[in-house]
Structures are given as structure tokens and as C-alpha cells.
Amino acid sequence: MTSATLAGLVGAALVGLGLYGVIADPQLLRKILAFNLIGSGVFLVFGIVARKGAAAGLSADPVPQAMVITGIVVAFAASAIAVALTLRLSEETGATTLPPDALARPPGEGADAE
């Protein structure tokens, strides 16, 4: 067992853990955290792939590394939007979870005149 394989296994575990949090926890903030866990698990899988591609005097393949860097920045941007939506929803309704019935009589545009 190399440290790279170990990291890959941690990545797999993180994906499972995060997935559980995303599905099972109703709190939006916790879902965002769990998404970040899945994300870092996915990045670790890229990490092990990079490490196993060590060649040409490099200790890791640079291409997956660059993809992870791109991915981390995108994940941050996604967290920022999710947080902004969550905070706004909580300001408007006081809720920190999604309403169970999403279709509870949403009016169309102009329909909320009454």
C-alpha cells in the first residue's frame, strides 16, 4: 500500500461520506459542506491518478494537478452562490432547509397581484 493508494481510498471514503451528508442532512449549510467533501474526494482521486503518472523526472503528472486547481476554484464559486442563496432564503422565510413540498402553490409572474 503506497501513500498514493491510501489517498485514493480516503478520496473514495470522502465521496461516500459527502454523498450521505448531501442526501440525508436537511440543513442547507450542511449540504454545502457535504458537497465540498465530495468535491475534495473527487480531487483526491485526481491526485492519486497524478501521482501514479509520475514520469519524466516529475513526481506527479501535472495535467490532473492543473485540473484539480481549476476544480477547487470552481467549487469555491459554487459554494459562494449556494451560501448566498441559502442566506437569502433564510432572510426571507427564516428557514434553513428546503421546504419539503417545493410546489406549494408558486404563482407565475404577475400572478401574485392578488
Binding site: 470522502l14 454523498l19 449549510l29 467533501l37 491518478v49 503528472d61 481549476t70 477547487i72 434553513t96
Partner: protein, 314 residues
């Protein structure tokens, strides 16, 4: 080697334990703090994978800036959270857990099956490296070989800013996010900011500059610069700029705009979109990276600051 392996195993367990804490901790705030710790531990894992560039990015953005964003949100949601804790039934939870175990197990099995000396683009990356004039192959992938990805990802950041701002109330549109500048800033934080920020700016610029040849680059340097601005705003020494300010908009698009312009110019002078003329590659790459660092710094700080919350001033 065996000591290192023992350390690796310990680190792996620690990472997993803290990750489990962020999922199962009783309160949202505690979970969020756990997440920040988790991010820092994760950067250690990246160092152990010999991916120093990624480790820096993870520490600066994955843990640092994301941490500030999430802790701020957790603090604001703290009171409201207890309201709804509707539980799933035990059976549903068991089913979900089974599903997640299945995914994780399959993934783990495939990871174990990956060949020890896997396919790699490292030789090609090194072979083309001299054309770029760079010394850091990761930077070369980001700004030369796969520059199209990186440019578009900068556009994604602009969209994220538009998306976050779009959540402002109409009357605040054009105003500034966050809190106004304080007459008397918090003294401790203000002192901290005054001492740290000059050093931090130096470090940020340094990390960006060495990125051409050593670990570092626009993302990592930009994130450090963003952190400095966030600290100054948190100390309320200054306030976030008005979102209608032209200079702010220009700063937010400068990185992708310059990148795109150079890419299109490549079609005219270098024989293809996003190609660099031979010999000019390195100066052009540094030119692009300079703007990108600046834009990343401003973008990350504005994303943390959130949607406009103050009425615009003329």
C-alpha cells in the same frame, strides 16, 4: 519509509475523522469549523502526493477563503438552524447509507485496481515546456496547453459574481456588499490588519511571481491577496466598493478579458486561437497571469462579501 507510511495512515484516519465530524456534528457552526480544519489537513495530504501547487491552492482557497465564507454563513444561520430538524426515518437513513457505501466501495475497488505506473502526460508536458519558457509544468498546463479551460473557468468566476449579486434586493442594486466602514474599527483586528496586510501583499505577489518556475501561481497568489482585502474589510478599516463602480467591474473581468484578447490575437499572429508566438510565450503568459492574479483577488473577496446590502450612493 515505514515511519512515513505510519504517518500517512495516521493522516488518512485524521482526515476521515474530521470529515465525518463535519457530516455528523450536532451543530452547523461546529461542523463548519471542522470543515476548515479538514481543509488544512487535506493540504498535508496533497503535499504527501507531491502536488505542492494543489496543496497551496487547497490551503488558500479550499480551506482558507471557503472557510471564511462558510463560517460567516454559519454564524448568520446559527439562530435559525434549530427550527427545522425534521428527521428521516431510520430505515431511510440505512438505505441512503447503503447506497453511499456502495458508491464508495466501488470507487475504492477501482482505485485499488488502477495500475501502479499509470498512463501519464508528464513526458509530453516536459517536452513542450521549453516552448513556453516556464519552469513549472502545472502552470504550463493551466496557461498554455489547456489555457482554454482556464480562461473559461475565469468566466465562471464572473458568472458567480453576477449570480451572487443577483440575490440583492432591488433597492440595494449598485450599492456595496457587507458592512460600512466603521468610524472606530475594532482595535485588535485593525492592528492585525495594519501589520499583516503589507506582508501578506508581498507574499501574495511573491507566490504569483515564482509560479512561473516553482509551485505557486495566479490562483494561489490571488487567493492570498484576496485574504488580505477580506481582513481589511473585516476590520472595517475600509468598506467593500459599490457594485456599480466601473473600476470594480473592470477589475472583475480584467483577467478573463485579457486572456481572451491574447487568445484571439493568437489567431492573427501565432497561427491559432490561444497559441503564443514563439519566443514571446513567457512574457505573454506573465502578462496574462498578472491580470488574472489581480482579478482572482478581487473576485474571491467580492464572493466572500456577498450580495449588495447597502443603498447605492451617487
Amino acid at each position: 519509509m515505514s515511519v512515513l507510511l505510519a504517518l500517512d495512515i495516521g493522516l488518512a484516519f485524521l482526515v476521515f475523522a474530521v470529515a465525518a465530524w463535519t457530516v455528523f456534528a450536532p451543530g452547523g457552526f461546529a461542523a463548519t469549523v471542522g470543515y476548515v480544519v479538514y481543509g488544512l489537513l487535506l493540504s498535508l495530504v496533497w503535499i504527501r502526493l507531491f502536488a505542492v501547487d494543489v496543496a497551496l491552492t487547497e490551503a488558500a482557497i479550499g480551506s482558507g477563503v471557503t472557510g471564511v465564507l462558510l463560517i460567516g454563513a454559519a454564524a448568520r444561520l446559527r439562530g435559525a438552524e434549530a427550527t427545522a430538524r425534521e428527521g428521516l426515518t431510520g430505515l431511510t437513513r440505512l438505505f441512503i447509507a447503503g447506497l453511499c457505501l456502495l458508491v464508495a466501495g466501488a470507487l475504492a475497488a477501482v482505485v485499488l485496481l488502477l495500475p501502479d505506473e499509470g498512463p501519464t502526460l508528464a513526458p509530453q508536458s516536459m517536452q513542450s515546456l521549453p516552448e513556453t519558457g516556464l519552469g513549472n509544468p502545472v502552470t504550463a498546463v493551466l496557461i498554455a496547453y489547456r489555457s482554454f479551460d482556464t480562461m473559461l473557468e475565469k468566466v465562471v468566476l464572473v458568472l458567480a459574481v453576477v449570480g451572487v449579486w443577483s440575490l440583492a434586493a432591488d433597492r440595494f442594486w449598485g450599492g456595496g456588499p457587507g458592512e460600512a466602514r466603521a468610524e472606530r474599527p475594532e482595535p485588535t483586528l485593525a492592528f492585525f490588519a495594519q501589520v499583516l496586510v503589507p506582508i501578506g501583499i508581498l507574499v501574495g505577489v511573491h507566490v504569483f511571481w515564482v509560479g512561473a518556475d516553482e509551485p505557486g501561481g495566479a490562483f494561489q497568489g490571488g487567493a492570498i491577496l484576496a485574504a488580505m482585502w477580506i481582513i481589511v474589510m473585516m476590520a472595517r478599516l475600509t468598506e467593500a466598493p459599490q457594485t456599480s463602480a466601473f473600476w470594480l467591474r473592470a477589475a472583475l473581468i480584467a483577467g478573463p478579458a485579457v486572456f481572451l484578447a491574447v487568445g484571439v490575437a493568437g489567431a492573427a499572429v501565432a497561427g491559432g486561437y490561444f497559441a503564443y508566438p514563439p519566443g514571446l510565450a513567457k512574457p505573454l503568459i506573465l502578462f496574462i497571469e498578472t491580470f488574472m492574479t489581480f482579478t482572482i483577488a478581487v473576485t474571491l473577496a467580492m464572493l466572500v462579501a456577498g450580495p449588495p446590502r447597502r443603498e447605492p450612493r451617487r
